[in-house]
Structures are given as C-alpha cells and as structure tokens.
C-alpha cells in the first residue's frame, strides 16, 4: 500500500512537472512592440487665445492681431493650456543680453542658455567671457566655431543654416535646446530685428512654438505662436534659418513614482 502510494505520488509529480514545463515552453513569445503609427498630417495650428497683455497697461503692438497663431506673451504653458515648454530653463538662470564692444551678444547669450540647460559650464556667462577677452559681440556661424574652439573645445555642437524645421524638431525631441535666429514682429518688437533667441518649444503636431528671448528673460515673458509664424521669423530678414545646438545631455525629467 505504502509503495503504491509513493509510486502514484511520484508519477503524479512527474506528470505535473511535464505539464507545467510544457505550458512554459509553449507560451507564445512576447509580441514585438507595435510599430509607431505613421505620422499623421499635421493638424492646422490651433488658434491661441488672446495673449496676456504686455507688461504695463499699454497695449502690445500686435494687440488684436494674434488670430491665426500670431505671437502672444505667456508663461510655461501654451495660451490654450495644452502644452508645456520642453526646455524650461528657470528665469534665475537666464541673464539678459549685453553688448561687447558696442555689439550685441544675443548669439552668445543664447548659447549661454543652452549651456546652462545642458550643463556645459565652460560656456556659462559666455557674453561676459567675451567682454573680458575683448571679443566684440555680433555672431555668425564661423565666429561661433572660433568661440567654441576657444572657450569650450571639448563641447560637441551642431549648426545649420538650411532653415529645415525637421532639424529643430529633432533637437527638441531629444530635450536639447536650439538657439535660433529670430526677426521680431511680436509683442516685444513692432518691427524687424536681427536677433538670436532660444526655442523652448516647437511641434508642428501640437501647433505650437515658443521662444525664450534673452532681451526679456523674466518668468512670464515667453512668446508663444504657431509653428508657421515662428518659421517666418526664423528665416526672415537675413537670419536665414540658422540654428545652433549643443549635443550635451539635457537634464533629467522630474522624478515621480
């Protein structure tokens, strides 16, 4: 009796093992991740709500003309509340543009912002470094190459003058901060300007672009507009659609459980 019970137990055990192992082996392999959906046609840019008023009771130069995604001053969130900045460098890290030997340093202040965002300390306060070194302001791609060689020879970076919006999106997709030419015509400038600012948000699918202007570095002085409106200002008045970006790693996202 004892032997038969033992025998049955063992046979049962072997059968159970065989069955469970078979289940394991025949379990279908995990399916490969689904391919990303094909890029839909970008929707028409959403019309932003009325912009926040410009500082002071005086009207913005473009008051009433912002329909169709024209520039509107705002904070970290788009005027319709749908998107937030990708490159949200705190106001405490954003110094105002200065001049070196009578020429503005917008290009180098923009690089300063990108350096602070991506932590390239050699380029912090780049305009002030230029002033100290006796290098005049006024930037163009070849001069940026020279300045990078001198002040941050180890830092990798890209520059592009093709005006190709794909490159802007590729830079922002990876969380890096593009520095872009910008010709004004917004709530800060009534006419044409020659300027470089940082592009804190640009996405043709959400229909929003946002710049951080080194002439207006305060907390709520971002300028939101439609991507098309931004592209006009990026390429306008000889700016030519020039973009600079550091390749260093951007900061981590805020932690959560």
């Amino acid at each position: 009796m004892n032997r038969r019970f033992l025998l049955a137990l063992l046979v049962g055990g072997v059968l159970w093992w065989w069955y469970s192992d078979r289940q394991e082996r025949t379990r279908p392999a995990p399916l490969p991740p689904e391919p990303p959906p094909s890029k839909p046609k970008p929707p028409e840019p959403k019309k932003p709500r009325r912009p926040r008023p410009c500082p002071g009771p005086g009207p913005c130069p473009l008051e009433g003309e912002e329909a169709g995604g024209r520039p509107a001053e705002g904070g970290r969130v788009s005027p319709d509340g749908t998107v937030e900045l990708i490159c949200d460098l705190p106001a405490s890290e954003r110094k105002k543009n200065i001049a070196s030997q009578g020429l503005g340093c917008c290009v180098f202040r923009s690089i300063d912002y990108a350096a602070r965002w991506q932590r390239v300390p050699e380029l912090y306060d780049l305009p002030e470094q230029l002033v100290k070194a006796g290098i005049p302001g006024g930037g163009y791609p070849d001069k940026v190459d020279e300045v990078m060689k001198r002040f941050a020879p180890e830092a990798s970076y890209l520059q592009d003058t093709s005006g190709d919006a794909d490159i802007l999106e590729a830079i922002l997709k990876t969380g890096r901060m593009p520095c872009v030419t910008y010709n004004g015509h917004d709530c800060h400038y009534s006419g044409s300007i020659a300027h470089m600012v940082c592009l804190s948000y640009f996405d043709r699918q959400t229909g929003w672009a946002c710049i951080s202007d080194n002439n207006f570095p305060s907390e709520n002085s971002f300028v939101w507009m439609s991507p098309d409106e931004f592209l006009k200002r990026w390429k306008g008045d000889g700016g030519g659609g020039w973009v600079f970006a550091l390749l260093a790693v951007p900061p981590p996202p805020p932690p959560h459980n």
Binding site: W17, N97, C106, K149, I193, H195
Partner: protein, 255 residues
Amino acid sequence: MRLLFIPFALLAFAAAATAGYEWRFFPDDKDELVLWKDGVQLGNYRVSERKYYPHLAPGVWGAPCPPPYPPPQDVVTPGKIESDGIINFGLDRTRVNPTGKHLLDGKEVSKEELLQALGQPRLPDDSQWPSLTIIGPEMARKKVLSDLRSSPILAPWKERIKVQDYPPDHWAVKDAGFVTAGQPTIYCQAPDGKVLHRQDEYRGPQALAEVLRKADPAYQPERDPDLNKSLSSVPLWVWLGGGILLALLWKGEHK
C-alpha cells in the same frame, strides 16, 4: 539729483504714443527718458541703471519699480539701429547667410549626418533611454562618473543611458523633487520621469550594473537564451523522484 530738475522744455520728440503712453527723449541726455500720459509725467527711466523712477509729485520721486509701459527696446537692450531700420541685437547679418550648410563641430556634413548626431552612432535618439542622475558632492560624483567611463562591467550601458551629474544646489534638481542629500544620491528614471531606482550612497560598479540591468526597459528575462535548457531545467526533485520510481519498478519486477 538731476531728476529733480528736468528741463521739460528740451523734450524733443515722441518715440511711442500708444493708448496715451508716450516716451520722450532729451536731446542732450541719452541716459534718461520720460514717460508721459495724458499730459502728465508719470516717471523717468534711466538707461544706464535700467531703472524706472515714478514721478509722484513735482519734485518727488519714488523708489525704482517696473514702468507701467515698456520703454522702447532699442533703448533698454543692446540693440543697434541699422541703416535699413532693423534693430540688431547681435547678429552679423552680412555673414549669416542662408547657405543651407549643415555643420557638426565646425565641419560641413550632410543633413543625414547631422540628424545622426542626434541619433546613432554619436548621440543616439536617447529620448527613450533611462536617465541616470548623480547628485552630491563633487568627489562622490566623480567616483561614479569615473566608474561609468572605465569600469568594464558598466561598459554596456555607455550608449544606453543618459548620464548627468549635479551638485545638490543645482537648479535642475534642487526644487524639482529630487532627494539631494545622498553621498551621492543616484536616480535611475524612465523617460517619463518615473523613478525606477534610487540609492543614497554609491555601492560600486557591480551593484550599479545590476540596477541598470533591472531598470533597462528593453530587458526581458524570459527571452534569455539557455542553450542547456533540455537538461538543466529539470528540477533536482524530478531526477530524484524518477530515480526512486525506477528503483521501485525494478525491485517490483525482481520480486
């Protein structure tokens, strides 16, 4: 104080007149502007100080405060008005040509190569990589960074995680919800910010590699190949049971 004796008669022209606000300049003093509204002087802006002084009453000036209407940009920012009327804040327009060039570290490349710099092989499209963030005193951070660079056990992670390090008081971590008191604190986060792992001291490259292996979103243990599966996967108790069974059967036959 010069502000107290403003020669109103010398005000030359209106620079901006919108909604009643009007900035006026002194022909003999480029350092000061006056803000008018409806025939009343509201205050003065001193360019060299970038400060606005409200005019409270004749001869009485308030402490500096933001002006109620923004001063003209070419005055308060380092812009230069060029011959075609464009205010230039720092571009050399003659040399910023829309040449269509793609440049990487100063060398001309194709668009594909430029995009590759944000993708493989130099800097992968790392938007879906986990972030490894080291927060602490410099020496403590350096040890981890050094191991990440040189330890063979951590080598497979070099091109698969985004590494940043910060002192505890850095803006990127101080008020962003990170614990910054570790020696160092090491975070491993998913691309959406979810904390996959946190430790408040460094436990060496072996332990860090184990953390990274477990945190790797692409890692699926069930897909590990096991070339000896046919033999090694049979549990010991099955071997023992089978042996006893055979022994009993053999014994039964011989009875």
